[in-house]
Structures are given as structure tokens and as C-alpha cells.
Amino acid sequence: MSWLRRREVCIALYVIPVLIILINHFTGQLAAAQSEVILWASTLATFAILLGVINLSQHHITIIARKSKRWPYSIILLAAFLSTFIFNYAYKPGYDFVITRLLSSLQMALLAYVGFYSYTVFFRASGTKNPHVIVLLISMLLGLFYNLPMRDMIWTGWGPLGVWVKDVPNTGGMNALLIGVALGTLTLFLRTILGYEESYLGG
């Protein structure tokens, strides 16, 4: 059975769905097979969660057993995980309370960090003499002024100028980036099919 270990088997498993989906895309003949394999992929991704739970539990149980750094937090983590999981089946309002009240406020607090770090982006980008980054900054400033709700109180030209930058230079650069990425995707795809790229198999 050692042939089963060969990477060719994995590449074949990669190529079969590719063929189904691409043939359906161009001919429309394999619609049922396509929706089946797409569903498979999402089911397989879900199966992996079981492995994930085992990985996480193993990791934290080892930390607690070894009493390594920060082990009390591992206990909190596992307790939070298990109690909420049991709540879902034993006491549904408890689960709902944790998820819709406590967790959602924590989510809100964490999302606020996106706002905080956006300023870090502005701050760290500035203070440079690299001409490319200066162009980036000017364009960024234009974008900020364009989106400023009270922009017309400062200068009425922000609107038209912003629209022009958005529609013309921005479209040009965006096209270039997207076409480039499309070609890159195709290249990587072909390399994967031919078996030159196998990083997804883990080295």
C-alpha cells in the first residue's frame, strides 16, 4: 500500500475537482457534480474543526500539566470553552447570554482596535523621504479629505478632485494590480497542477 503515500495521489485528488469545476464553467454540463464537490470542500473544512479542538485542548492541557508559563490562563480558556459548550446542550439561555452579550461586547472592543491601529498606519507611514511613500501619503490624504463629511466647508474642490482621482488614476492602478494578481493566480495554479508547488501538502 506504500503507493498510497505517494504525492501523485494527492495531486490527483487536487486535479479531479479542478477538472470538474473548470469543465462545468465552460460547458455547463457538470453542474450537479460541481455543487457536490464544492459542498465536499466545505464539509471537509468543517471536519477539520474536530482536529482543531483536539489540538487546542492538547496544547493547553500540556501547559497546565507542565505548569509552564501562564498556566492559569489555560485553565480559564479551557473552562470557558467547556462550560459554554455544555451550556449549549444543557442550558441554552446560558449559551445565548455568553455569545450574544458577553462575546459580542468583547468583539466590539476588539474591533475598536482596528480603528486604533488605523491611526498607527497613518502615523508610521508618515515621516519618510521615500518618494513612493510620499505619493502614497498624498493620495491617502486626498482619500481622507474626499470622505470627510464636512469637506465642503474647507474647500469645495475636494469632491470633484476626489472623483477624478477615484475614477482615473485609481482605476488605472487597480486594473494593473488585479490583472497582475490574475496572472499570478494562473501561474501558481498551473505549477500546482504540474506538481511543482506542493507547499499545501506541508513541505
Binding site: A41, Y113, T185, L190, G203
Partner: protein, 260 residues
């Protein structure tokens, strides 16, 4: 047989893939291996890992929220190809890596990848399973909390983020910038290009991620694929000029082709 309106798309698809295949094949048979322009980020990777070794600090790596099960898979695969090399350097210099796993199916892939890298770098004993830690499947906020905590706690020497990033890009790169990490970052996703350029010391812009994934192997066929990709750029440029001219003279050839 072929759907209406898809014939030209199919032809273009086959032409581009054919060209790339032709160049791969030429390089494989040793006819011509193209020289690839130096990419600053690739050149810097070894140095970045070396610096981490000098400071005796770990390196944080991230592939963002994209996984292998959605349309961001190509970006993730490209990122993994580069991380394979990073793990190899890490093995060479004896630097620990840390990867927070946001997609459960990435656990086996990344574990194997990092382990293989350390083995190849000459320090297989350094690898341990704590390097890949799972934080909830697709749970971006949990990932954000874990990464913020890790970076501000351990202050890793370097912070490498490649792949398909979403909101967490700000968190990973932002907290890296605040902690003063050396940052290498890149994503082909449009929205985050500005952030990547602004916050990283060695940005990888758009398609460069795919190119870097191919160039890092230094395999002739991989380098050949890049030459094929360059011809793709030439074809696209020619098509653009042709469509502009056709539209200017009022010909409907292009729209007919698209409707074919």
C-alpha cells in the same frame, strides 16, 4: 458544447496557460532558465531570520484568515511556499517560530511544513507542536486577541505576514509596528496594499507574492513559469491597446468576441 459567451474566455485561458507551460517546459529541459529580478523582501528573509537569532527572540508568522478551502487558496499556497523557506532558515539559525492557526485544516499542513523546514535547516529537535496553535475556526476576533497578546508579550524580533489578509492585517502589522518588530508583509488583496506598504520594512506588493513563491525555490521550472507570466503581461498590454483602438474607431469586434 462550449457555452455562449465563454468561447473567447476559454481561448484566452488556454493561451495564457499554454504560454506558461511552454516556458516551464523549456526551463525544465534546460533550454533556457530565465534570470529573475531581485525581490527585496526575498533577499531580506535570511537576514531577518539571522537578526532574530542574534536577539534570541522568536519570529511570528501569519497567513491571515484565508485558508485552503475558499477562493483565497492560491494566496495561501503561495504564502506557504515562502514560509517553507522561512522555516528552513529558522532551522539553520535556531530561531523558534510561532504560528496562530485560524483555519483548522491548516494545522496539519503548517505543522508538517514547519517541521520539514527545521529538519532541512539541520535542527529537527527544535520543532515542537506548540509552534502551531489553534484559536478557533475562522474566528477572526479570537485570532486578533491572540496575536495582539502574543506580540505585545513576547515582542518577537520579526513579524512576517503573507497570504490573504482581512481586518486582522491591521492588528498583526499594527501591533508589530508598535512593538518595533522587523516586518515583512504582503498580500495580493487590493484593500490592504497601502497598509502593507506603510507598515512593513519589506513590502511584497500584489503579484510579487506569487512571483516570490516561485522564485524562492530556485527551481528552473518555477523560474520558467515566471517568464510565461511575463508574456501574459505582454498579451494583456497588447489587448488593452487593441481594445482602446477598436473602441475609438467604433468597431464592435471586441464585444462580438466577448459574446461569442
Amino acid at each position: 458544447m462550449i457555452l455562449v459567451g465563454k468561447k473567447f474566455e476559454l481561448i484566452l485561458f488556454l493561451i495564457i496557460l499554454g504560454l506558461i507551460y511552454y516556458m516551464i517546459d523549456r526551463a525544465r529541459r534546460g533550454i533556457k532558465t530565465p534570470k529573475v529580478r531581485k525581490l527585496a523582501a526575498l533577499q531580506a528573509l535570511r537576514e531577518v531570520v539571522g537578526q532574530a537569532a542574534e536577539q534570541h527572540k522568536p519570529i511570528h508568522i501569519s497567513t491571515g484568515i484565508g485558508g485552503l478551502h475558499d477562493e483565497w487558496a492560491p494566496m495561501t499556497i503561495a504564502a506557504m511556499a515562502i514560509f517553507r523557506k522561512v522555516a528552513e532558515y529558522a532551522g539553520e539559525f535556531g530561531v523558534p517560530l510561532k504560528y496562530y492557526c485560524i483555519r483548522a485544516h491548516m494545522i496539519p499542513a503548517m505543522e508538517d511544513l514547519i517541521q520539514a523546514g527545521y529538519t532541512k535547516g539541520g535542527r529537527p529537535e527544535m520543532y515542537n507542536s506548540d509552534m502551531v496553535e489553534f484559536v478557533g475556526d475562522g474566528q477572526q476576533r479570537a485570532y486578533m486577541a491572540a496575536v495582539m497578546g502574543y506580540i505585545s508579550r513576547e515582542k518577537p524580533a520579526a513579524n512576517i505576514m503573507l497570504g490573504a489578509g482581512f481586518y486582522e492585517t491591521y492588528i498583526v502589522l499594527g501591533s508589530g509596528a508598535v512593538a518595533g518588530c522587523l516586518q515583512v508583509a504582503g498580500t495580493p488583496r487590493l484593500y490592504y496594499q497601502g497598509t502593507v506598504v506603510a507598515l512593513s520594512d519589506y513590502p511584497v506588493i500584489g503579484q510579487e507574492l506569487y512571483a516570490a513563491a516561485a522564485a524562492i525555490t530556485e527551481n528552473p521550472p518555477d523560474l520558467g513559469s515566471l517568464a510565461g507570466q511575463d508574456y501574459g503581461i505582454v498579451i494583456c498590454s497588447i489587448l488593452m491597446i487593441v481594445t482602446a483602438l477598436l473602441a475609438t474607431v467604433g468597431a464592435t469586434l471586441w464585444s462580438q468576441l466577448l459574446a461569442w
